[in-house]
């Protein structure tokens, strides 16, 4: 069994009629990087909440099926216990700030204080996270005086500092510029190399395609597909779900550039370059 195991998960928010999560089942292995895609309202954020335990413990509502994190059943354990395994970065960094701390440094310390770490470990971890996200320069600022992009980095740093086994990120780069986005993708890639399992909801699929091992594709609360980026983005019916493939894939499709063995279209510039190389090779021979 994987580090995350979801079995027939169903959920609806209190006072609503519609299942936001509709019979989801999937497993995630330790160290995998899962890209979570789907149009807005597909249920991505709710799934993130369900993996972190906020659903059903914080939001209540009707819940069916099982979510197992490190073999702990989320429903049967308190949020505090789950949060030692799972870190969640919210879509809106504003919601993540505690509001009780006056500096970025203390904000990042907050989670660590709650974990009961000793002072030295805390200082070490805070400095490390500040550096990773390149925000050492703003460590003494009030979190609410920051720009959206800076606040987003603080939100990520505050979760990374807790060193969770599983890191869940809900559109972590929405307010970042291209360089900031690249940096965050690289930071997350490095965490993955350390063996941390990553689940990341993101609209920037052109970037995501180059990092994720697998794509979890949702629509209307249902799981549409759960396979490699190449397989998911080569589907012909993405538009029916209000989705689109990365530009590389769309252009490759128009030009008929595909992998000769498996028939899949390239999803990254690197893959495109490789396919073209092969085509030229063929022509030369």
């Amino acid at each position: 069994m994987g580090i995350i195991s979801v079995e027939n998960l169903k959920y609806k928010y209190p006072d609503t009629d519609k299942l936001v999560l509709n019979d989801l089942s999937f497993d995630v292995e330790q160290g995998e990087y899962i890209g979570l895609i789907g149009k807005n309202t597909a249920g991505k954020s709710t799934l993130c909440f369900a993996l972190a335990g906020l659903v059903p413990h914080f939001f209540n509502g009707a819940y069916g099926g099982k979510v197992l994190i490190n073999e702990l059943e989320v429903r049967q354990h308190e949020i505090g216990e789950i949060s030692s395994h799972v870190g969640l970065v919210f879509e809106n960094p504003f919601s993540q700030m505690t509001g009780s701390k006056y500096t970025v440094y203390e904000e990042i310390a907050f989670g660590l204080e709650n974990m009961g770490l000793d002072r030295e470990t805390m200082i070490h971890r805070i400095d490390e996270s500040l550096e990773l996200l390149d925000i050492t320069g703003i460590q003494d600022k009030n979190p609410f005086d920051l720009s959206g992009g800076q606040m987003q980095r603080v939100a990520i740093a505050s979760v990374i500092a807790m060193k969770p086994d599983i890191l869940i990120l809900d559109e972590p780069t929405s307010q970042l510029d291209p360089q900031g986005t690249d940096e965050v993708f690289k930071v997350i890639e490095n965490l993955r190399k350390e063996g941390i399992t990553i689940i990341m909801a993101e609209h920037k699929i052109d970037k995501m395609a180059g990092y994720a091992d697998k794509i979890l594709f949702m629509h209307d609360g249902k799981l549409i597909d759960y396979s490699s980026p190449g397989e998911v983005f080569s589907r012909d019916d993405l538009e029916d779900y209000g989705m689109t493939a990365p530009a590389v894939t769309r252009i490759s499709k128009s030009l008929g550039i595909q992998n000769k063995q498996n028939g899949l279209y390239p999803v990254t510039l690197k893959e495109l370059s490789r396919e073209i190389g092969d085509t030229y090779e063929l022509h030369r021979n």
Binding site: N40, D177, G180, H203, A247, V248, L255, S273, I276, T279
Partner: protein, 276 residues
Amino acid sequence: MIPMNSIEIKNLSFSYTAGNDVLKGIDLTLNGAATAIVGQNGAGKSTFVKLLKGLIVPTEGEIVLNGKNTKDYTVASLAKEIGLVFQNPNDQVFKNTVISEVMFGPLNIGMDEQDAREKSMEALRKVKLDEYVDTNPYDLSLSERKMIAIASILAMDPNIVIFDEPTMGQDHEGKETLKEIIYELRNQGKLVLCILHDMDFAAEVFERTIVFNQGRVQIEGPTRDIFKQKDILHQAYLEQPIVAQIAEVLGVAGSYVTEKEVVSAAGACHDPNFVE
């Protein structure tokens, strides 16, 4: 004839604290063309549009908006002329129903109740949220709330519309909706300015692009010319739109801003039946 809206910016500088310039000596004339403003976080983009909107006043230089210095406008008269959609809708949205939120602006600039309601409904249809009239904006998702913030500016029908990061958090369909709105505003002769981190959206939708870097205009001109200058973009910590990167990998020379252009250019040289 539709009157042309214009903003002339002369030697504009601004600092929040003395000696620490956020913007330095900006000279620009904005008219006609839908214009994208790009640059890394902290380059001064949001400060620049706040100055245009009169939320802050220049430390030096001046802004002439449709022939009149922004200093000579009252806040109310400037509000009719120019609308700014904030980056974070939570800074803008405060009413407890969607319709009262969207009607707040039009009512405040002196529109009567019926006009304000009509304009607001029209704006809500454009952002495709007209079924949520009585919903609390904070029961909507962040991307929907972003659209509410846009609708509340559209409802005021200003001549100049500025968007700060409208694509943030929007999915494919949301971006398509934004494109329709921007094209329509432009066809109505409005001046559209848009701060963007999404270079693909900037390349596809806007005729003109201004690159900000550390408080200055690094380069500006027709979008197509700007986005082929890879080195200058890198200096401003930006990247080329993905279509331009794809064109490079495909080995087709030229300057591309849409997928279609890349496909037709590459189609010619990658067609297996193509004989040189």
